[in-house]
Amino acid sequence: MRDLLSRREVARRLLGVTAAWSLGGLHPAWGHLLNEPLLAHADTDLASADWKPLFLQPEQNEALQSFSEATVPGSTNALVSRFIDLLLSVETPAHQEKFLASLSAIQAEANQQFGIAFQKLSASQLSSVLTVVSASPEDSAIRESFEDLKEWIIVSYYSSEMGMKELGWTPNRFFPSFPGCTHPEEHL
């Protein structure tokens, strides 16, 4: 049996929170990491050979898969687009609509630059699109769309087993001590 840290626990550690935990103001994707029922068996189900999207259209899923891999390398192997689809399937209509608007905006940017669908861009074309959108002014609509999608991807990738291991996770849950401050001058 694998000894996995739950995504909820991952969320706690990633966000650095303990008691009186509140997600107010955070991107909605983080909230799903609290949702153990949703996440139970998610990794197994997502890897199924006959997987079909629950929320996204197939072409949207393809675009998201390309965008995810370019934004956070390794996302394809971690099945990030499938996991985001799972989260969206239980999201509020407002968040679903916002996600689709963000994805459409990025697809439109790709279409404007190269005249083809996002999922058909070459690696250099992808890089070109991402360079433009990630460097756009912070208050621009396209930058907002990029950051919105990026956060969905970050949450999904770094709560997967692959992403967790990349951040140092190991199956050992027993630690003999907590390393405190050892500076004799105590920073005075």
Binding site: L4, V17, T71, E186
Partner: protein, 566 residues
């Protein structure tokens, strides 16, 4: 379930309702004193087999449909940070066990546990003493009532409880936050050390490691903390205090305690003349049948609102408006802690690196009350004071710009923050109260509570000061990117409820005496936080336990003297 063998005839010396912090102690103390005890718990038995702090998510029962299940059955309880699919069936079903509020006063009654151990299964474990600044607050500032006992009365019981439950912490020599019998403290991080030293140096305020019921060395067969993180899902090494594997286990081991689980207590049964309690009526949660159980003494430890609900539902011709309510204050002076406002700042990493592969300290830091105490200037805008719970974190920089491998590299640049949240005493006021809502019963046929709670001007002023003082301390410590957390628009209160059956020397203004014995019914005690005369800003559980043990010793003495018939 461990039902009494011959329920209709068995007469126990003591009936105890509730097996949490106080009920567990009462059961241990009295059964070990040789009394025959029945311990009634509304929830299920607890055992290590239910603990899941290391359990992988893929072993959980529910899949994609479960969010609806959890929210449909626990729309209130699911708002508590400590609930998850791992443990949500430890909490009450909000639909089966509702309560009401006025439309303009929403109140989240959180942490309604239905397991042996009660809230100690999921509590935050902060274990802080009260001082005479708290117990005699009315004498200091003229508001409300003093407690009918002082620190010297409680101190030996604090000692006893701390030694047993195991409280890790450090002595600070503060008048307002007395030191205790501590196990070695968990260490500060570098950032906390900076914060602690500079805040003390520049502002004279004390930042200490949270005094927490987590062991740092072995005790009574319990192992020290192994720093895995989620105590609220249990602990296979029994390193945090949970009454189910400590006090309740001791009580059962005595051979004098019978545990009755799934027993939803409805009311206290009174003698025909209304002078003595003779038992309780409870509903078996499995069969939904009424059952009676009899005792010479009845002790309510069901959680503050639950115990008061039982008393209010126990009215008789001799006790209109609820048993032990000749004063008319039963249900009144409901208080809790507003857990809100605060601040966050960033600190240098000093070599620390973020990782998911390291130990997690289960406690944070605590900033002791500094308003309206002897060595700090009095506030002009509010009475009493507040403390902060805080924590520091070496986190990943998920806000790192860019994409691709460059983003992944930037992500691992540590982002070190220190945050704090204030805990405010809600002053006991007549107009914060609970009553029975006669229009609604729970699934067991028991009339429910209607809860009236709001913050007043004093709390609002304190919450404002909490944000401002948090910024002041973070600035003093040299933090950057400081953010003030303003109070939420919808009030948020911690599950630190108290009052409603308060202690006092004046029978016309209180329900219980200083030993948590009902003024009106000498063989009836209420040993949870509903007995509190006020609700000092420190977390209440340690005091709940110390008071309970003190009252149990009084009860034992009274029984020996024949002051209470047995």
């Amino acid at each position: 379930m461990n039902l009494p063998p011959n329920q209709s005839q068995q007469l126990y010396d003591v009936l105890i309702v509730g097996s949490g912090a106080s009920g567990g102690w009462a059961a241990k103390r009295l059964s070990e004193a040789g009394l025959k005890v029945a311990l009634l718990e509304a929830g299920r038995p607890q055992s290590s087999s239910n603990f899941s702090e290391h359990k992988p998510a893929f072993e959980l029962k529910y899949r994609n449909k479960a969010p609806e299940i959890m929210r449909k059955t626990r729309p209130i309880q699911s708002k508590l940070y400590a609930i998850s699919e791992y443990n949500y069936d430890w909490f009450c079903n909000d639909i089966d066990e509702p309560y009401t509020t006025p439309a303009d006063k929403p109140y989240n009654w959180l942490g309604r546990m239905r397991m042996v151990g009660g809230r100690t299964n999921v509590w935050g474990r902060l274990s802080l003493r009260y001082s005479d600044w708290d117990l005699k607050a009315a004498s200091h500032d003229g508001y409300g009532e003093d407690w009918p006992l002082s620190y010297k009365d409680l101190a030996p019981y604090y000692d006893l409880v701390e030694r047993y439950i195991g409280v890790s912490g450090m002595a600070e020599g503060l008048e307002g936050l007395p030191d205790g019998q501590f196990q070695p403290p968990m260490p500060f991080t570098c950032q906390e050390t900076i914060f602690r030293n500079r805040v003390k140096q520049k502002l004279g305020r004390t930042v200490t490691i949270a005094r927490s019921a987590n062991l740092t060395k072995p005790q009574n067969g319990r192992g020290p903390c192994h720093y895995c993180g989620p105590c609220e899902r249990g602990c296979i090494t029994h390193s945090y205090f949970n009454s189910s594997f400590t006090t309740v286990a001791d009580a059962l081991h005595s051979g004098n305690c019978t545990l009755v689980t799934n027993a939803m207590v409805y009311k206290v049964l009174m003698d025909p003349d209304g002078k003595r309690a003779r038992g309780v009526l409870y509903i078996d949660r499995d069969t939904k049948q009424d059952r009676e159980i009899y005792g010479r003494v009845v002790i309510l430890c069901a959680q503050a609102q639950e115990s008061v609900r039982i008393l209010l539902n126990s009215e008789t011709p001799q006790h209109p408006g609820g048993v032990a309510n000749s004063s008319g204050v039963l249900g009144r002076y409901f208080t809790t802690h507003a857990a809100d406002a605060g601040g966050t700042g960033e600190f240098p990493a000093l070599g620390a690196k973020p990782t998911l592969g390291g130990p997690v300290r289960p406690v944070g830091i605590y900033i002791a009350r500094f308003r309206n105490t002897r060595n700090q200037p009095a506030s002009k805008s509010f009475l009493r004071g507040y403390g902060y719970e805080g924590y520091s974190n070496v986190g990943f920089n998920f806000r790192a710009p860019g994409y691709g491998e460059a983003f992944k590299k930037a992500l691992c640049e540590p982002k070190v923050t220190l945050s704090m949240t204030g805990y405010v005493e809600v002053l006991p006021r007549w107009d914060n109260f609970v009553e029975i809502d006669r229009s609604l019963k729970d699934t067991y046929g028991i009339p429910v509570l209607k809860i009236h709670m709001s913050n007043g001007a004093n709390e609002a002023a304190m919450l404002k000061d909490i944000g401002e003082s948090a910024v002041e301390m973070l600035e003093a410590a040299g933090a950057t990117n400081i953010q003030m957390h303003k109070p939420r628009t919808v009030p948020y209160w911690a599950a630190h409820e108290a009052g409603m059956a308060r202690m006092g020397n004046d029978q016309k203004k209180s329900v219980l005496n200083q030993f948590q014995q009902a003024h009106d019914v000498k063989n009836l005690f209420v040993m949870d936080a509903s007995s509190f005369t006020s609700n000092p800003c420190q977390n209440p559980t340690l005091t709940i336990m110390a008071l309970c043990v003190r009252s149990c010793d009084y009860l034992t003495d009274q029984l020996k003297r024949g002051e209470i018939r047995i």
